[in-house]
Symmetry: C2
Subunit: 750 residues, 2 copies
């Protein structure tokens, strides 16, 4: 609160436009150049006397500007931009700033858009080496997706992508629609398909979704509904005529639509949906109808406000015959946005988060659609009402149809993961800047140096990187094995969706708490991410149901492998387990505590496999015991629900440990590999540590070994603390995408 | 979608006003009478022919009204009320309804206010026995607080207490202020004090806060800021002249204020705050000043919009002398709401939740306050600037001052707990009504019957009840032991605050996920509670910091008990631990698995004590080792941060298990005691089960016993599943407070 006159003068002085921008960058900047402060002081000292004095008042490190000072500074910069044509000013300032500091002014504009400026905070400074390391880590972690991530990053840096401050639901929805259409204009969606719409690039679609998730989850969900669900279902379930007629306008964001599968009474249990599609030979089409309240289509994205058409799932009836669930292309609004006759729509209303997405409920009152509305890739109906399909069994047809939609689950898993990594970036940069308490008569400690704080943020940081690598690998496997292993891959996808989204919920929660009150303010982004990501654990399949599905898949694979003979398979399994027990319960092994062993991927993979296998065979045994006693399979499975969840968890953790161990084997030696290897070790040991009761109870580990694991795990946390700054930043685009200047906007806490 | 003509006619028919209300109660009611449906059908059949036909169309159980039908019905009832004087209609309908069904129409009005009506849902029916049991359980669980809970309940049932639907921040703040002032008018706050403001009823204050938490957390926090923090600090830190001058208008809600302690740079570390209060002999007062950005008062409730004065904490300086942190009564706005000279205020802005509270930041620019602004209970300054205090040490003075504010932590713990129990009520009622999947060819299962679902909701349900009992007990102990044990009680309060608020965060999260998409909609309350309660883990002391504080307290008590001689104390402790090990590691005991033993409070208390003691002595040992090696105590403590957190957790769980075991001993035998005893057993076994690695690793339990505990724990979950309906409802007022008619508004899910 010194030099207020000089400070005020600078705000008014028309000659100081560039200096205003520079000062703002110094105090509220993203800290990407450690040289900024000194170089701006140099520049200021070269100005004429009164200008120099004004600038000096703002550049006094002992009396940094208050948050309110920065507020007025920001207002003044906005006025600069408004007064002349934005391009001019921006070019002028931009050139000056660039020349002087090498800073990109687009960042400034993002910073100015709806964010709270920072006060007295030591910005985290990048060394050239760190910056280089970050870029290298990005490339390694993002792998084949790196180019897409970079491209999305460059689009998101444009002026149009700025956050609104505390928007109303209506403003938020309008903004998100504009963003989706902007992305469409830039062919972000069109490039997923080849020219004649005969092929789709699943990986590109999922990677784009993931990359966008650094920015805003409402955008990502609307993007996913429009292109992934609406476009994807049209592509996968429709045939050439649907592709030609619909896809060009869908990918350009002109025909807006959604995916109407879930019903009020039937969420996870899609097979039981009640909406009917009855063949009408006379009119040559189908009558869609919602017979009950519980058959309303529920939670449908793009329904409440923007959608013009929907891919609707309904029970197909021809005469007296039922053919099960099929998909139809159904218009719901006309070109002017008026709801069509027979369509009833309700707005789901205000939600915990994702308020930029217009979820709604839809019902049909005897709505007619022509025969070619049937998306007929897997089943056809001719004018006489004759039903044909290459897939005989109704069940097989149903699962084939659903199977084509696996992109949704992959996207949701990857998007949630990315959002959590973005929250970690903010929380860790905050933890590296925020000081509190400390030994007597010394400077306060940076809170990232508290063990309890590291314990909360470093394991998820390491795991986030490993999950990214696992997701990349899963996408590659889908590309390579479209055929035989597909069912297994779909199971793993269900498991990964549950794992990644729960990881995201828990991680963003830790981030929220680790930023104290600052984490609770919407402007600092973490609270927004936390609210938005919560429902990711529910949609595209409830996590508990997906874990059941994954476990069931594993159990049936297990039985299949032994020609459906569960009894025989169990005998064999028991024998192999007995042998394993002899090996694993070897006192030398169960008590082995040397660090090399505990850090080795060989140990991790074997130990994780042991748990997964053991829980699998015991689950099979328990189910068999119950069905042998006359219990129906449904109840037998349900009665051991806690075991099933534990099995799915063990199995997916094994998958992650195995995949990342193999990936690491291919990596060039060097500093970056060393850091990533530590992440791998910590992730594996964290899984082992959290599930150590299994090993202790079953004699695969003695208590000395459990203690040794805890020790090495803690050592790894401390080792990775040293890399926390660079590792958390290794996320293409995120540094610029945060809205809040990294680690500076959130500079104080309750 | 049948009988649409008859249904429509009923909406228009002026004779059917009462029937409209009745029908609404049937379909969207709170299910509090199982007789409703049949009795309304009876009434309808007695009407004249066309009226009867209209009513029958609405009372067809096979074709229940859709959500949209109910929407129009609600509109029509609103019109009824608007057309004539509300009193008349309301009295007329009310009498009819009461005569016919015994239902209280005030509930209908609450239901009509801003809630989403329900569709096809089997309302949960109460039997007379269940209702009686619920009331009895409420009385038992709420104990001495029961009368206060009932009184708050009757106030909250008034028309004024209705939720706004999706309010803007400004509307929300205005609504919450109105509520607070209404409560003040009803003397809810005034009765905390005796007539001459010389005594305060801490228990009454905390219980009122807890009871209000069933309704709305923004209200509760604003209420707590105004009466607990502003009123409480004036009472505890001020003297008679402050009491007489300020308290009457504070408790009437006329003088609005807050509690300005936290600063941007100093959240947990209050002793380091930077705001100064410099004695000015000439003007006979103090100059308050905020010297830096980090000295802004941060997150201050009532600051951004409504507060006229604040209790401000600042470093007292007289001449060259520093006297540490003291509290001052400081006006910040005039009667018209204009901010006073020298005061700077910023709005904290939009938050993750609690948007009905106007948090702000405050800074002082050389603001003068007269000498009697000093709240001078513990220290006085005379006109010559002579400082006097009965408490010699600055540290002791500081902790005595903070100690008086323990009511805040008790309130926050109890309020979060109550909010979580409210969320559990909604989630469990939903789980009992929602069906999904099921064995082939049978009706779908109620989701509460899935083991995985029970696993998520039943243990927190049982624990919630036990925590309520523990909080009651803690309040009683404060009443009884104002003197000597106070420091210990403050420690336990810190631990309970952390435990209860984390419990609330995790429990409401489970509730959110267990209601699927419906849990994500704000109208169904859980999402609102989830968002609001999140910051409870941060304010009134960050949980991690509080757990540290609690553990430190225990450690110093431990040392004190042995005359500060840590080495000696450790020797003794080691000896006693060795003896304990001999007993506890007795193979008969470590392997004892009979159910009676595993369910006995004797085993639970001993086992929990063992863990708490053992972690305490090992923490002391580890700290001593480090300080002996020359490490400063701060780092020695910080380096074992994970151990300290585990110790605090073990200690607070022991406290809960011990308290509830003793409470249970006093309880009359009977059905209600049996249910509560099951809650106690499950809570204790859940703590043991979650921490079983400790017992396994240290040889206090063999793996057979761990498995037996898991089994009994699961058995208890199933036993309590049978009582879930009544147990979850055992919360005075909540059934009527939910806004969403219980278990009916949330009748469908993704």
């Amino acid at each position: 609160m010194t030099d207020t006159t000089d400070r005020a003068s600078l705000l008014e002085d028309p000659r100081q436009a560039a200096m205003r921008a520079l000062i703002y960058l110094v105090w509220a900047g993203d800290g990407s150049s450690s040289q900024t402060f000194e170089s701006v002081q140099d520049i200021a000292s070269g100005l004429n006397a009164d200008m120099a004095k004004q600038a000096a008042a703002w550049l006094d490190a002992e009396h940094p500007p208050t948050i309110l000072d920065l507020h007025y500074l920001r207002k003044s910069i906005r006025a600069d931009m408004a007064q002349s044509s934005q391009d001019n000013i921006s070019k002028e300032i931009q050139t000056q700033v660039w020349d002087l500091t090498g800073l990109d002014l687009r960042r400034l504009q993002n910073t100015l858009a709806g964010t709270r400026p920072a006060g007295t905070h030591t910005p985290l400074a990048w060394t050239a080496k760190e910056k280089q390391q970050r870029d290298a880590l990005c490339a390694l972690i993002e792998g084949e997706g790196h180019a897409i991530w970079q491209e999305i990053a460059s689009i998101l840096q444009e002026d149009s992508f700025r956050y609104l401050e505390n928007p109303s639901v209506e403003e938020h929805r309008a903004q998100v629609l504009t963003w989706v259409q902007l992305l469409a204009k830039k062919d972000v969606a069109a490039r997923f398909f080849n020219d004649d719409f005969s092929e789709v690039d699943l990986t590109g679609m999922v990677q784009s979704f993931a990359a966008l998730s650094t920015f805003d989850l409402s955008l990502v969900v609307k993007f996913g509904v429009q292109f992934g669900l609406f476009g994807g279902s049209t592509f996968f379930l429709g045939t050439e005529r649907h592709h030609q007629r619909l896809l060009p306008s869908i990918v350009r964001g002109e025909l807006l639509g959604g995916f109407a599968m879930t019903e009020s009474g039937h969420g996870s249990d899609v097979k039981s949906i009640e909406t009917t599609a009855t063949f009408d030979a006379e009119k040559d089409g189908f009558i869609l109808h919602s017979p009950t309240r519980s058959s309303w289509k529920e939670w449908i994205g793009n329904a409440a406000r923007d959608g013009q058409a929907m891919t609707v799932f309904a029970q197909l009836q021809i005469g007296e015959e039922h053919y099960g669930v099929h998909a139809f292309h159904v218009p719901i609004r006309d070109a002017d946005g008026a709801v069509l006759d027979g369509i009833r729509i309700e707005d789901c209303g205000y939600k915990m988060g994702l308020n930029g997405v217009d979820n709604g409920r839809i019902a049909f009152e005897h709505v007619f659609v022509p025969r070619d509305a049937l998306l007929d890739r897997y089943a056809q109906v001719d004018a006489q009402g004759t039903y044909t399909s290459d897939i005989r069994s109704e069940d097989a047809r149903f699962f084939t149809m659903l199977g084509t939609l696996v992109g949704g689950r992959l996207s949701v898993a990857f998007g949630a993961l990315t959002a959590a990594r973005t929250a970690l970036l903010i929380a860790i940069h905050y933890g590296l800047g925020r000081r509190q308490f400390g030994p007597e008569n010394t400077e306060d400690c940076v809170i990232m140096d508290y063990i309890a704080h590291q314990e909360r943020l470093i394991p998820p940081l390491a795991q986030g990187v490993m999950l990214h690598i696992t997701m990349n690998d899963l996408l590659q496997r889908f590309e390579q094995h479209e055929g035989q292993d597909r069912r297994e891959l779909e199971g793993i996808t269900a498991g990964m969706k549950a794992h990644c989204t729960w990881y995201a919920v828990h991680t963003t929660q830790e981030c929220r708490e680790c930023c104290g009150g600052q984490g609770y303010l919407m402007t600092n982004r973490i609270a927004q991410i936390r609210r938005d990501v919560d429902v990711f654990a529910t949609f595209e399949g409830d996590n508990v149901v997906l874990m059941n599905l994954f476990a069931k898949n594993e159990l049936s694979g297990y039985a299949r492998a032994f020609q459906q003979d569960l009894a025989l398979s169990m005998l064999r399994q028991l024998r192999s387990l007995a042998e394993k027990n002899i090996v694993e319960k070897n006192p030398v092994l169960t008590g082995k505590t040397d660090e090399k062993h505990l850090r080795s991927s060989d140990y991790h993979v074997r130990a994780m496999k042991l748990r997964a296998d053991s829980l699998l065979s015991s689950a099979a045994r328990r189910i068999k015991k119950r069905t042998d006693d006359g219990m129906d399979p449904f109840h037998a499975f349900s009665e051991i629900g806690d075991h099933i969840q534990a099995l799915a968890k063990a199995r997916i953790e094994y998958e992650i440990v195995k995949t990342t161990a193999a990936w690491m084997d291919e990596l060039e030696p060097g500093d970056n590999r060393d850091v990533l290897e530590k992440c791998r070790q910590l992730t594996a040991l964290d899984f082992l540590y959290q599930s150590r009761t299994f090993y202790l109870e079953n004699g695969f580990m003695d208590s000395g070994k459990a203690r040794a694991i805890r020790k090495v795990r803690l050592a790894l946390i401390r080792e990775l603390r040293e890399h926390a700054f660079v590792l958390s930043s290794a996320l293409t685009y995120a540094p610029e995408a945060l809205g809040s200047p990294i680690g500076t906007a959130i500079n104080s806490s309750t």
